[in-house]
Each structure stands twice: as C-alpha cells, then as structure tokens.
Symmetry: C2
Subunit: 184 residues, 2 copies
DNA sequence: CGACACATGTAACACGTTACATGATTTG
DNA sequence: CAAATCATGTAACGTGTTACATGTGTCG
C-alpha cells in the first residue's frame, strides 16, 4: 500500500516510463532495498486498470510513458495529505507475548537477540551521515524506532523480573470446549 | 508472516481446532483487531501443506484438531528465538520524503495530521490500564512507537525550517534519458 | 566479441483481508 | 421459534516478492 501510492505521487511530477519510475522512487524515498522493476510494471498496469494513470506515447527510444489522470491526481493528493494507517500487529510484541506463555521458549534469549539487532541498526545509522534530505528523514525514523525498541526491550526485561503480578499462563488450550483459560 | 508463525507456536501447546486457535491467538497476543476465522483455516491448510502440522482426529463434537509435527516444532522454536526481520519501508517517512519534493503537496499538513493521530493513540493508551501481561506488552510497544513518531515529527519540522542546507528538489523527472536529477 | 546496464514485460507464489455458504448448538 | 454463537470451510481480491524471458544499446 506504499509503492503503488508512491509511484502515483511521482507521476504527478510528469510522465515517466517504468525504469525511470524505479529510479525516481529509490532516489526520492531513499529506498533501503532496491525495488524490483517488475513490480513497477505490474503496479502501473493496476493503476491504469483503476483509471489513475494512462499509458501514453512511446518515444523514439521505445520508452513507454505513463501519465497521471485527474482521478489519479486527486488520489495522490489525498494520500499525501492524510495520516498513515494505524500500526498493524507488532510482530515483536506478538512474539514476545507468545514466548512468555510457551513452555519451551526462552523470552530472555529473544530479548537479547532483538536488542543486539537494534543496537547494530542504530550504530549503523550513526556511522554514516546522510547525503540527501530523504536519506536523513528515513534514517532518523529508523534510528528513533530502534531507540524506542530498545527502551521497550528494557521495560520488558524489567517486567519479566517481576513477572508475578500478572500471573503467567503456560497452560495448553483445553481440549474439547474452548473454555477460556485464565490468562489474567 | 506473523499469523502463520503465531498459530504454529500456539499449536506447540497442544492440538487445537480452528475456532479455538483464533481465541488463543487473540488472547495470548492481545490482538487489537479480531482475526477473521477464515484466515485460520486457510493458514492451517498451508501449514499442513508445508508439513508443519497434521490434520488430526475429529472429536465427538466435530472439532477438527490439528497437531504440530516435529518439523513444525523446530520451525516454531526457531521463529520464537530469533530476532524479527529488519524494518521494511517506513510508509510515513516515504510519504513525507515525497511530499517534500512534490509541488502541490503540503508537508506541514501531513506532519500535523500524523501528529494528531499519534497523540490520540498515545492518549488512548494512557487511558486504559492493561488487564493481562500481553496487553501490557503490546500496549507499551504501541505507546513507545507513538512517542518515537512524535519525536521524529518534531525533528522533521525543525529540518523543514532550515530546509536549505539540503537543497530541496521539486523538479519533475527528465523526459527521455533518465539523467539523474540532482537531489543532493 | 562479451559483459553489463537499460528496458519491458509475464508468471508464480505468499500473505493478508473480506465476504460468503453451510450447518449445529445454544439461548432468550 | 428466532437469533446469536460456534464451527468449518471456500472464493475472490490486493499488495508485494522473486524469478524468468526477451531484446537493445553501450563500452572495454
């Protein structure tokens, strides 16, 4: 739900062809991982199907240009202006919550692993200074997220130390009737 | 990549049937939004196809129990112990980066909108106290993430004020040759 | 010439979401 | 009885990822 809208937004700047779009996308959004070109073409097809872009002319070099439509322009504006959808399931929190109730699991190990990953990420960010504004923005976002994660991990460790106030439950789900196992 | 593994992890506690799995998942992971049951069955089919679970007996009440296999047990352990995959594209950062280079866009509006959302989320979290450990964990994660986001938004606003040191680029991509437009 | 970047696509797959169909059991 | 909940599934769709097929142009 991010690439599609981003490509559309870029097309608001003027007609582009596929390869060019990938370039602009990666430059302007400081993409961490390269974007597979195939996806650009697939996304363009969907955008066209939905009436947000039109397949325009092909220039002498064979480049197939896509243009944004008025509907597309409206959609892009709306997307750019509005807040991002609320956060989905947090995989880390989910995982730790599960690790706490599973007999074989080792929550402390998970915390340790995750902490070292976050620390490494943070260090990596502090090491290089950004060349563009985009790089700066996404880098900062990453770093702040990593810091928040570290804080959270610390808090979890502390909670784990007390542990009892909440009463862990490592019981297997009952067989037969799904009689709610007490987790409070 | 979270539900599948979570269901598998829960099955490590003992055989479950679909409906029961949904219940346990929502309880144990303090799921914010309800999980569609259909997805449980679909996921179970895939897990079975991949040899991580087996369709076990059906009890007198007609409940179809699934059991985890040894392979599945190994996979679950591995997942639970290891760190979460590195963060993907940050939609908010991407969006703001684009908003900064698009002529029509209003980065300040985006920041404002996002800030009010984050603030609301944070307030909502502070309002209710968690009943279970799981709720506490995921709630804290959400809150810390929201705080980090607010920090980031502040920093972005500050950057926007200076703005010039990085030299914004609102030029459309060149036609023809994708001659890299200077963004530094 | 041979390797590599440019350029356009197609196909298969994974995961997640929603909606729908169907029946049994419980409960007001 | 009627409505809600429990329970098992199926089907369609959207986005994203990877790999592949194919051809042109450029450069050492």
């Amino acid at each position: 739900m991010s690439i599609r809208q981003s490509l559309l937004a870029i097309l608001e700047l003027g007609p582009c062809y596929g390869y060019q779009l990938r370039l602009e996308f990666e430059r302007r959004t400081a993409a961490p991982s390269p974007l597979n070109v195939g996806q650009v073409y697939a996304t363009l097809e969907r955008l066209e199907r939905d009436g947000l872009v039109t397949k325009g002319e092909t220039d002498s070099a064979g480049h197939v240009f896509y243009e944004i439509t008025d509907t597309g322009r409206r959609a892009a504006r709306e997307w750019l202006t509005g807040a991002v959808p609320p956060p989905a399931r947090d995989e880390l929190a989910t995982k730790l919550a599960l690790a706490l109730t599973l007999p074989g699991a080792d929550p402390a190990a998970l915390i340790a692993a995750q902490r070292s990953r976050a620390t490494a990420l943070l260090a990596e960010h502090l090491a290089r200074e950004p060349a563009t504004l985009a790089e700066r923005l996404v880098g900062d976002a990453l770093a702040l997220a990593a810091e928040a994660e570290l804080q959270w991990l610390n808090r979890c460790e502390a909670l784990l130390a007390e542990a009892e106030p909440y009463g862990l439950d490592a019981e297997p789900p009952r067989r037969g009737r799904p009689a709610t196992v007490a987790l409070s």
